[in-house]
Structure formats: C-alpha cells, structure tokens
C-alpha cells in the first residue's frame, strides 16, 4: 500500500517535472541536411528552381528539398520523398528511371524510380572530407597543383557544409558531373557511388562560380562568371576557359551543334556558331536576367526570364531572331518541354505551363 502511494507520488512528480520541461525546451536544432523535406500541398506552387524530363514524366525541384513530378504534362503534381530540406538547384535524368538532383550544402541525391524517391549520394560533409583527402593523397605523390588545392579547398567548408552545387549533368547512368560555387566540380564514373574532384582539371584559377553544366553535341560547356565559358570537347580531359566579350555572369547555355547561346543578366545573350570558339552578343530584347533555356525538337530555343517572360530564339538564314511572350506573372527559374511538346516553366510561385494545344494555335499563323 505504502509502496503504491510512493509510486503514485513519484509518477506524479515525474509527470509534473516532465510537463514543466515539456513546456520549455524539448526541441533541438535539426540541420536541413538531416531533416527530410516535408510534404506540402504548396510544393508545386512555391519556389521551384529546376525542371526536366524523365522519359515522359516531368520532374521539378526547388527550395526546402521539394521535388515534384507530373505524368500529365504538368497539370497535376505529386511530391517525392526527399531525405534533405535544403534548396535543390538542378536535375539530370539520363534515363527515364535514373536521375540526379543537386543543391545547397553540397547535396547530391539519386533516384532510380523516375524521381519518386531519392537517396543521398554525397553532401558537403562527405565532400569536404573526400575531396581534401583526394588531393592530399596526390600531394604526397608529388603533385604540386594537388598540394595547393589540398591547402586551399578546406576554406570552402570552414563554416560547415556550406557550398552549393549549381549544376548537374549525367551522360548515362554511370558518368556524370556536378559543378558549383567557387569552382567546385566533381565527376563520377560509377553512377555517383564515388565522386572525384575535378577542380584541378578546370582552367579556373580565380575559383569562379560554375553556374551550370550542359552537353551540346559532343561538347560539355560550363557557363561561369566574368563572361567565361568553360569547354571540354570529346576526347579531352580538361575544361578550358573561353573568354567572351561579356563582363557578367552566364547563368546557362543551350543550343545545338549549329548555334550555342549563353545567357545571363539583363537579357544578355551571346551566340557561338563554332562550338564555343568565338562568341558574339545578340541584341537584348528584355532588360531582365535570363535564367534557363531549353531546345525544342524543331530547334527553337525557349528561355525563361526573371520577369516571368518566355523568350523564343529561332535561327534562320537571316540570323538569330528573338521574340518575347508574356509567360508567368512571377519570376521564372527553369523551363522544359513536356512529353506532348508543351511548355512547362517553374519559378517563384511554382509551375507555369502552356500546353501543346495552345502552342499549336499560337504558332499556326507563322507557319
């Protein structure tokens, strides 16, 4: 009986103490690298920064670790399970099933089910360790470039896994590159299981931001700051710097073997008709940043602008011609073509689309 009373009293005290503590601090900070992205009905209508095709499917990624996918040309979207809640900046799907997403805090995510679920392959924590270790190892072998990189690289992770990846490109399910801030770049040959730093293989002593990576034809391009485009042609194993006349940043680059366009701030577009050897400015048609570009099957380039406008660049005998259409009422960050040939763009307030039916109607007079 006495024991019983004691037990009750102890339980009571414990409960009282428990609630007192519960009222104050039970929380501890969970890093966005460790906090899975939360499900939200707003995921497809808030900040999305990348959109791409995975086979017939559309996949888009953005802030808070949001990845959404759509099988009906962007009408409806489902949210993918993502193990992190940092901002994701770029996507690449070399096949309908296999895809990679990269983003802030050095995160690299991998999906084998067409973007429905994602696993972490690498992040700023592991990169900080592995990249430095890689160069230290080579420095021991007497490589001087590696020695200086082993010294300089750690500055990128001084305050935690801070540097973002800004671009990702996979040629197939095995080979791919990720590029990012302050010249960081890494390559994988085994589908992302291991990543080797390629910082020493880019002609980038100033550590310029690598804003994206694209393959056009058989050449890989990395648009960068100060008008620089890095280029690696097939068979080469380094990226060489090509200087354009531009002084600002290129956010992206697209085109085909005939014409490549690099675009950036304040409507800037530079075109190259010789696979990146020489560049010439196109007249700007809109004074806002161009953030993304995609190529339609007929060769027309579609660019998204920070004003929400969509630009169309066609190249005919008279040279490149640019047209502007209203587009979204919010800043756009990325644009893609859906399986039916319609336009899908994403940005500050999520998805904007122009289904294929509308496009046909719109183009008819011009044909």
């Amino acid at each position: 009986m006495t024991f019983f009373h004691c037990a009750i009293a102890v339980l009571g005290l414990w409960l009282a103490a428990g609630t007192a503590v519960a009222g104050d601090f039970t929380g501890s900070f969970v890093d966005p690298l460790d906090a899975p992205s939360t499900r939200s009905s707003l995921a497809s209508s808030t900040q999305l920064l990348a959109v791409t095709r995975a086979g017939e499917r559309l996949v888009a990624a953005g802030m808070r670790g949001h990845i959404v996918y759509s099988d009906d040309s962007g009408r409806t979207w489902s949210q993918a399970g993502v193990p992190v809640s940092v901002t994701l900046t770029a996507l690449s799907f070399p096949s309908p099933e296999q895809g990679w997403a990269v983003g802030h805090s050095g995160v690299v995510l991998h999906s084998v089910d067409g973007g429905v679920s994602w696993q972490r392959q690498s992040d700023g924590r592991s990169a900080a360790r592995e990249f430095v270790a890689y160069y230290e190892e080579r420095a021991v072998a007497g490589d001087e470039t590696a020695a200086s990189l082993a010294r300089d690289l750690p500055i990128n992770w001084q305050e935690g896994p801070e540097q973002p990846w800004l671009g990702v490109w996979f040629g197939d399910e095995a080979e791919g590159f990720v590029v990012g801030a302050f010249g960081l770049i890494a390559r994988t040959g085994d589908g992302g299981r291991t990543w080797l730093p390629w910082v020493d293989r880019v002609d980038n002593p100033g550590g310029l931001h690598l804003n994206a990576i694209e393959r056009i034809g058989s050449t890989l391009y990395i648009p960068s700051e100060r008008g620089v485009v890095f280029r690696m042609r097939q068979g080469e194993n380094r990226f060489e710097a090509v200087q354009t006349d531009y002084t600002g940043s290129f956010f992206g680059l697209c085109g085909d073997e005939r014409m490549v366009i690099a675009y950036g701030l304040r409507g800037t577009m530079f075109a190259s008709f010789d696979q990146g050897d020489t560049w010439a400015p196109l007249p700007p048609v809109i004074p806002v940043a161009l953030t993304s570009c995609t190529r339609e099957t007929d060769g027309m380039l579609r660019l998204a602008a920070a004003s929400g406008n969509i630009l169309s660049v066609t190249d005919d005998l008279a040279g490149p011609r640019t047209e502007v259409q209203p587009g979204a009422s919010w800043p756009l960050a990325a644009v893609a073509i859906d399986a039916n040939g319609g336009l899908v763009a994403v940005g500050m307030r999520g998805v904007w689309r122009q289904p294929a039916d509308d496009l046909i109607g719109q183009r008819a007079p011009g044909l």
């Binding site: 501890s28 801070e162 940043s249 701030l265 500050m348």
Partner: protein, 815 residues
Amino acid sequence: MTPSEKRTTQGSLSHADDGKVAGIDLPVIEDVTQFDENSGGWLERLIFNHRPLVLALVAIVTAVLGYQATRLKVNASFEDMIPQSHPFIRNYFTYRDSISGLGNSLRIVVETRDGDIFDSDYLDLVREVNDRIYLRPGVDRGWMKSIWTPATRWTEITEEGYRGGPVMPFDYNGSPETVQQFQINMLRAGLIGRLVGSDLKSTMIVAPLLERIPETGEPVDYGDLSDFLEQDIRSLQSERYRIHIIGFAKLAGDMIDGIETVSFFFAVSALIAMLILYFYTRDLRSTLLLVSAAVLGVVWLLGMLELCGYVLNPYSILVPFLVFAIGLSHGAQKMNGVLQDLGRGTHRYVAARYTFRRLFVAGLTALLTNAFAFAVMLLIDIPAIRDLAITTSIGVVILIFTKLILIPVVLSYIGASHKAAMRSLETGSGERRGPLATIWERVGHCCERRYAIPLTIGSLVLGLASFAISHRYLQIGDLDAGAPELRPDSRYNLDVAYINDHYNISGDQFAVFTVTGPDGVREYNSLVEQDRLAWELEQLPEVIAVESLGGSVPQVAMGAYEGNPKWMDIPRGKQVGSLLVNTITTNAPDLISGNGAVAPVIAYLRDHKAETLEAVAGVVRDFASTHSTEVLEFLPAAGSAGIEAATNEVVATANNRMLLLVYASVIILCYVTFRNWRAVVVALLPLLITSFLCEALMVALGIGIKVSSLPVIALGVGCGIDYALYLLSVQLAAQRSGRTLGDAYYEALNFTGRVVCLIGVTMGAGVITWAWSPIKFQADMGILLAFMFVWNMFGALLLIPALSYFLLRTPGQAR
C-alpha cells in the same frame, strides 16, 4: 402571526409592500409635531434630525465631485482590452519594445479617382501629405516611408554589382520626364502592393508612431492626433483625390469621438426614463426629483472616477447609464412608499422617515446584491472588464447615498402632489380599470393550470432550442471584417477594406517572437527555424503571407548573387548571413530588434475569425514546443490577431467560469432569501431561459462571445434576479400565511409587479440608446442588455407563476 407581520420579517426584500405593513407598525400622523423625532434607528435619527446638514453635505460633495467630473478625461487604451496574464500577452509586453514597427503605425493612402499616380498634381498632393505627417510631433520620422521619403530606394543588379537610388528622382520637378523616371524607379523598386496600390491609383505613407513626444515627454494623445488627421490631412481630399487613414491611433481617435456621441445618448436615455416615470407617477415634482437624484448619482460617479484615476473609455462610458437606470428604478420604489403614506394622510416628513425606516435595509440588500453580481466580473483578466466591475460597484455604492438617503430627505421637504398620492393608493390596492388592467388581470392567471402548462412547456422548449442554437453556433471572438470596435460600414473600416483590397497587407497580423542571445537571430540555425515556422504558417489557407528575417534571406541571397535563383537558400556562412540580414533590415527594420536578439515571424491573416486564430495559434504552439531550444525560443504573440487569439482564449474560459459564478452566487442569494429549493428553481429558470435566449440572439445578430458581450449576461442576471426576489418574496409570504397560490401571486403582482414592470422598462430604456452608438461593441451591448432586462421582466411576470403552479402550489411546497 398575521400575514402582515410575517411579511414584515420577510419584508427586507419586499420593497413595495407598504400600506398594510405601515398600517400596523407606522401610524398615520398628519401633524408633524406629534411625531417622535427619537423614534427609528440611529441612522434614521442621524439623518432626519440633521436634514440641513445632510443637504449641505450633499451640496458640498456634489460641488467637489462635480468639479472633478469636468476634468475627467476620455481616452481609449489598447492595453485595457487585452488579457494581461495570458502567456501570449506577457510575451508581447516583454518583447514589443524591442521591435519598432509592430503595430502602432499610421497608414495613410492617397487615392486618385482620375487616371493613375503618374501625374504631377497627384504627386504634389502626396508630397504635401507626406510633409504634414513628417512635421507632426510623435511621428517616428526616421522610419517613415512613402514614395517621397529618400529611404524608399530601388536597386538593380548589374554586371558591376548593385545600382540604385531613391525612387523619387533627386531632380524631380513635375516634368513628364521626371514623372516617368519615378514610374521606372517605382517599378524597379517593386513597390506595388507595398507602397503603391495594385491598381496604380494610390500610394501609401507609413508613419510609425512614438509612444511619447520626444520634445515634451508627453504621451501621444490619440484624440488630438485624430483631430489633426481629420483637419490637416483628410481635409486635403477632393472629388478627385480620396484619403484613407488606418492605424490604431486613428481607430482610438474614432472611438473617442464615439464616446462623445454616446454622451448625447445619455440625454436621450434620461428623457425616455423621465417619460416612463411620469407615466408611472403622473407627478412632475417627484419625477423631476427622481431624475435629478439619478443624474446626481452619475455626477458623483464621474467625479469619483476622476478621483480614483480612471479615464472614461468605451467600456466605462456605459457605467453611468447603468447607474442611472438602476438609481431611477430603485428610486421609484422609494417614491412609491412615500406616495402611499402621503395618500393616507401622513405628513410628508413623517412619510419620508417611514419609508426610510421600511426600505433602507431592503434597498441596501438589493444594491449590494447587484454590486456582488457585478463584482464577479473582477475574475476576468481583462482590465476593461475589471474596470467595469469596479466602476459599476462604485456607482452602486454611490446610489446608497443618493437613492437611500437623499431622496427621502428631499421628499420630506417637498412631498408630492395630492393627486399622485391618491393614485398610488388606488394602484397599490389593485383597483384599476382599463385595458392595461385587463392585461394585468390576465397575468395574474398565469399560475392556473390552463396557462401554466403551455407557458412552462413553451418556455422550456424555447429555452432548450436556444441552448441548442447557442451551443452549436455561438462563436468566440469577432466575426466581422475590419476593426471590430467599429461598425463594418464605418469610414475607418471602409478605409481598412480599401487598403486590404489594394495592398498586400492585412490588418490581421499574428506575430511570433524568435528570441535568442544578442545577434543570435542572424545565425544560421535561427534563420532556418524562422523560415520553417513561416513555411508551416503558410500551409494554412487562412494565412495570406508570412514575413520574417529567415524567410527573406533566400530572396536577398538571390539578389546578392546577381539575381541567380539557384542561390535562394539561407547561407551557412556567418559573414554572408549577417550581410544579407543587414540588407533586409535596412528596408524592414521591424524584422529585427536593435540588439539582434529578437525577430518576429509575422503572419498576415485573411480575417480574425475565431477558427482562423485558433488554427494559427495551434500551429505556432506546436512549432514552439518542438523547435524551441535553450538558445532559441519561439514566443507568441503580437500583432492584432495574436492579441485577439489570446483574448479569445481568455474570453472562452472566462465566459463559462463567470456564468457558473454568477449563477452560483444568485442561487446562494435566493436560497438565503427564500430558504426553499423549489422557490430557487422557480426564480432561476426564467433567468436561465433568458440567458440562453440572449445567446441565441447573439447567434442571430452575428455577435460572438468577446470582451464586450462577456459582461452582458452577468449584468443581465445580476439585475434580473431582482425581479424574482420582488415577486417571489411577497408571493411566498402570502402563501405561508395560508393564501392559495392564485391569491398570493395576485397580491405579489399588485404590490411589486408594477415595480418589476417599471424597472424592466426603465433599465431597458437606459441601455437601448447604445444601439445607435458608432462603436460597434457598445451597440451590441446595448441591444443585448436591453433584451436581457426586458425579457427577464416578462420571464419573471409570466414564468414565475407558471412554474409556481408546478413547484409551489401547496402551502407545504411554499414553506
């Protein structure tokens, strides 16, 4: 024991049972010299043997308090209406000073109805308004914002970095070129929805207010400020240009104006009450006496308020009405007694003393009962309601002097007209004829089976239906858009509606403080958590937008990295983070405290309905309990919606607790008086039914339970129990002396029923004028209180006999 003697012992509550009691205890004395001046209690001797002294004292007190009353100030305080010890409010009081712009700023919108804002005439007018506001003492000039303030800047990201300047070009001269430059700058600065209306037909001037005027140290007087806004700012509007002004200072100013309007209603109330009284007594002399005594009570009350340091606010302005009505109706009973004695031929001096002797204790009991019911409101943790409880109680205590002492003393000098005296005798014995008398006769039959059954069943059904309605539909909080203090169609609320429609802000802000160590809110963890809270709030459909430091950093980060959207995240680096925070706080200083230890997360809500506020408070509480750590706490709440959420929570619990206490106190009082549980039920049921009906009426009128409707049921029940006490005490006494229920009730009806009627109607008349008040909650209170007073009267007159048929039919049951 004779019936009369029996009633005398019970008589402490039967205010009007005069004649017959008097006939035995108090002989008719026509010649004042034959009256023994040393008869009666010590108090009576003290008062009536020193009548000139009493009158002189009253005159002196009136002079002193009357002078004080003229100095009484009128103001509306924001803090008085909020529950002081709710955790949200404590957090608000602790941290509000660290955040400059949280709440008290004026927003002035200049609208053009012709063309758009890119017009030199329009811009000149805005400059004029801007300059006048700028020069007004009490405006926090440093943080003032408009298209004309140099701090309103545009920036553009170029290859070379940021480029920018003030939105209004330095060289603005009204030329089409400079106007166009302004247009370009305005677009670049992204002002649409913030300082420029979404239809480009208006711009806003945001003027944060200081608590005190720095030059003088005086607190800002909202009445003055509001006058300034009307006379110097709104006067600039014309057919072409409209000016909309919102902000607590303007709201308070409008409420102060409303208070002044209400003073006019007081005169109307007094006039109506006077007419009713005259109809009742048909004697101008006594009517004037009663009204002046009641007015005197109000003057004393106002004087006392000033002496006690109170100001007249929109709530306490109602107390004089109540005190006036209570004073008048109770005074009428005094008068009734004197008149009856006069009618029988007693000298006016003696009649006054008799009345005092008979009714002083009874009147005291009744007043103290009322005071007690009002005092229950002290338990509600809202200063406005506590002040209401205290000031009403002060008023009731004053009534003891003006009503119980002054009226008999004055009556002893002036008496009443013979006609009125004779008339009171006739009515007192029920010998009246006419249509009213026939109705009266009918009411007397309510205790018979044929009336009692339908009445009881009908009222029970009505009561249950009302209960069901109020239980299902009665809401907590304010249900209308705009400032709840004013009517939805008031100019202030029309201005609010205009601004809500054309700008991305809403007046309904729910703010949560993020609290850390100095400069802690700039750190990565803190910014991430702020953004997480913002994101969770954004999930609610009721939330239009959320503003926070953490939530703004990704945007600014994008700007800092040349507008590249891929940089939209919170940077981990301390230096970069701090730089971005500085960029934000230059334009939005109210997102961080001076020492960097406090930052609010502000949700702008669609409305301030109770469910909205509950949903938001729920999300905030859940978030705070899972994300607060020892170094980073989330403390709700500030902003009008946050404070209203706290108020709603307090009001919801207070409502039940107060009803419980009011009814408990009334039950105890009834039992002490009647010593009979059946009688307690008979007295209580009509009140309960009226309470439920009142709640159903609130549903029908779209009034929620809020600070202003909270006191209504307490006041209604506190005053309503009087009726039951008057009627039942006489009825029970008669039954106990062996009369049948029918006779006993008829007697009660004739002795006290008329007084019940008089009280119901005068009290109702006293408060119904509020219904026309420009201040919405006063109007709500007026309607509800008038309903309570009048319906309680019907309930008492009809239901007490009907219920008595079931519960108090036999002498045994009445014992």
